[in-house]
């Protein structure tokens, strides 16, 4: 793969027409389309290596287990985790955060304690903590978001008190598209002995993640946003913490010995993988992450980066040029920062246009072939912070071209003319 067109050609779903128009898929923040290598793996498993993992003495189960565990190793490499014990397979970001919220809080959080979440969190990084805190009498507090979309780090410093038992922050907000300074957030928390969970639902896609360099205690992400099959997900956890936490769910595969009186648990990572996992989706993480890694290496990496930069610069200008358009999350300093680094903007733009309601814009764009996201985007507190009930979001992946960005803006301008 040397060009964006060659990347695109790997994605059958991108080749289709909708309502007679070429599809322009800009809802990548919600889920990515799948490359042929992932489609092939899923098909190969359904037609061949389909048997339950870790359980049987037969060839098919061995094959499925090898693919499942092979994907775990691929994930470990992709985020540079120390060992396979650090990599828990879950059904996605939401399940990963629920696991930590429930299990960590049961062990380490009590009456009057505080869980600190970032104010740009989506519901998956709010509600699990609320549920866990309700059970143990603790409280969830949010780090405020500044007008330009950055986290209020001054406020964060003040909020880090002895009562805070864990900090859970977005790596990149799914609405604002700004890379948060997670390194600094972690260092400040660690200075007080507080562990940090990083929600990497968007981060894994748009930033290079090295969990050891980042020094996070937990990193959660979904496979489906980074080309893998839906239903795959990962929780990276620091081994001491995962060892100390009680199991989240009980069932098959997570046990050592079971009697009616007492059960001992399987060692990591299986301790947290009760029941039959979605082994085909998890196995698809291997080709998906290989694909993602290839786009970050050699010549194509430069092509992708140049394209992303061009799309970001183009959209900043073109959207700002539409009368009454407000982009959420556009810090001035972002321009000078390298892509994926703290403070930088990813190719994800949420905005509102005066006198044009988001769902109206989306419906008209849809009929012109353009798929965008609108609504609360599972991020109601952040919407409230900006005084709106809805936004439009266009989010890009390396398979999106500058021409698509241009067609999107032209279609948007047409929709605006119709609505005004």
């Amino acid at each position: 793969m040397n060009t964006i067109e060659e990347i695109r050609s790997q994605f059958p779903a991108l080749q289709q027409l909708v309502y007679g128009k070429q599809l322009v898929y800009l809802d990548n923040g919600a889920t990515s389309q799948k490359p042929q290598c992932v489609i092939d793996l899923v098909e190969r498993m359904h037609t061949g290596a389909n048997a339950n993992v870790h359980r049987a003495m037969h060839k098919l189960s061995d094959d499925a287990t090898a693919l499942y565990e092979g994907a775990r190793e691929r994930v470990r490499q992709f985020i540079n985790a120390p060992a396979r014990e650090n990599i828990i397979f879950t059904s996605g970001t939401t399940a990963s955060i629920n696991l930590v919220a429930s299990s960590f809080c049961r062990k380490f959080v009590g009456e009057g304690d505080v869980v600190l979440v970032s104010g740009d969190s989506h519901h998956s990084n709010i509600v699990p903590w609320q549920l866990a805190c309700q059970a143990c009498g603790a409280e969830v507090k949010a780090i405020p978001v500044l007008e330009d979309g950055r986290l209020d780090m001054e406020a964060y410093r003040r909020m880090l008190s002895g009562r805070v038992k864990i900090v859970a922050v977005e790596h990149i907000s799914n609405v604002l598209g700004i890379v948060n300074p997670v390194g600094e957030i972690i260092a400040l928390a660690h200075a007080q002995g507080i562990p940090v969970l990083v929600d990497g639902a968007q981060g894994i896609v748009h930033a290079k993640v090295d969990v050891q360099e980042m020094d996070c205690d937990f990193y959660a992400f979904s496979g489906h946003k980074i080309y893998a099959a839906t239903g795959s997900g990962v929780l990276y956890g620091r081994q001491e913490l995962l060892e100390a936490m009680p199991p989240y769910m009980g069932g098959g595969d997570m046990v050592d010995t079971v009697t009616f009186e007492r059960t001992t648990y399987a060692p990591l990572p299986l301790k947290f993988e009760a029941g039959t996992p979605n082994f085909i989706a998890q196995a698809s993480l291997a080709p998906a992450l290989e694909f993602a890694a290839r786009l970050r290496e050699g010549e194509i990496a430069g092509v992708v980066e140049e394209q992303e930069r061009a799309i970001i610069e183009y959209l900043k200008g073109a959207l700002t040029g539409i009368e009454g358009c407000r982009i959420y999350g556009l810090p001035e300093e972002a321009s000078g920062v390298a892509l994926g680094e703290p403070g930088s903007k990813i190719p994800l733009f949420s905005f509102n246009i005066e006198r044009c309601f988001p769902s109206d814009l989306a419906q008209l764009l849809d009929k012109m072939g353009v798929a965008v996201r609108t609504g609360l985007m599972c991020c109601e507190p952040l919407m409230t912070r900006f005084g709106v009930t809805s936004m439009v979001r266009a989010s890009f992946l390396p398979y999106n071209t500058l021409q698509e960005a241009e067609y999107f803006v032209a279609s948007l301008q047409r929709a605006v003319r119709m609505l005004r």
């Binding site: 309601f357 769902s359 109206d360 009929k367 609504g375 609360l376 009930t389 809805s390 609505l419």
Partner: protein
């Protein structure tokens, strides 16, 4: 006119549009029309909440017939609402309950009734039926 007759009239009106954008242009024009509910009636009680847009609906009864007023912050939703009101206004609760709404599908706007759109329209139609049930005696 009966509900069915009004529905057929709308279907005929929409038959002239061969292009999606023309159809939406027309719905937007309908949506931009006269305010369909008094601001004072846009209360929490009359609010139907969706993830995408909000819809307000109120109902009054006169001589055994129902009259609706509604609004939405999305103009396309509002345009479809104005069609719904045109169909149901001045009808009896019994007729409204007996009606199986067909015109929205026939004019190609079926996807607006999909629950995943969460634009409040499905809940609004349900609410109209609930009003009809309450006044049906």
């Amino acid at each position: 006119m009966t509900i069915k007759e009004i529905e057929n009239e709308i279907v005929e009106e929409f038959a002239v549009f061969t292009d999606w954008m023309d159809k939406y242009e027309y719905i937007i024009e309908l949506g931009k029309g006269v305010p369909v509910i008094d601001e004072g009636q846009k209360t929490e009680n009359n609010l139907i909440k969706g993830c995408q847009s909000r819809v307000w609906l109120s109902c009054r009864v006169e001589d055994g017939k129902l009259y609706f007023a509604a609004d939405s912050d999305a103009i396309i939703t509002k345009g479809i609402i104005s069609l719904l009101i045109r169909v149901y206004n001045g009808q009896t609760p019994a007729d409204i309950l007996a009606n199986d709404l067909e015109f929205i599908g026939k004019i190609g706007l079926q996807e607006n009734l999909s629950p995943t759109r969460a634009n409040g329209l499905v809940s609004m139609i349900k609410q109209i039926k609930i009003y009809a049930m309450a006044y049906n005696n």
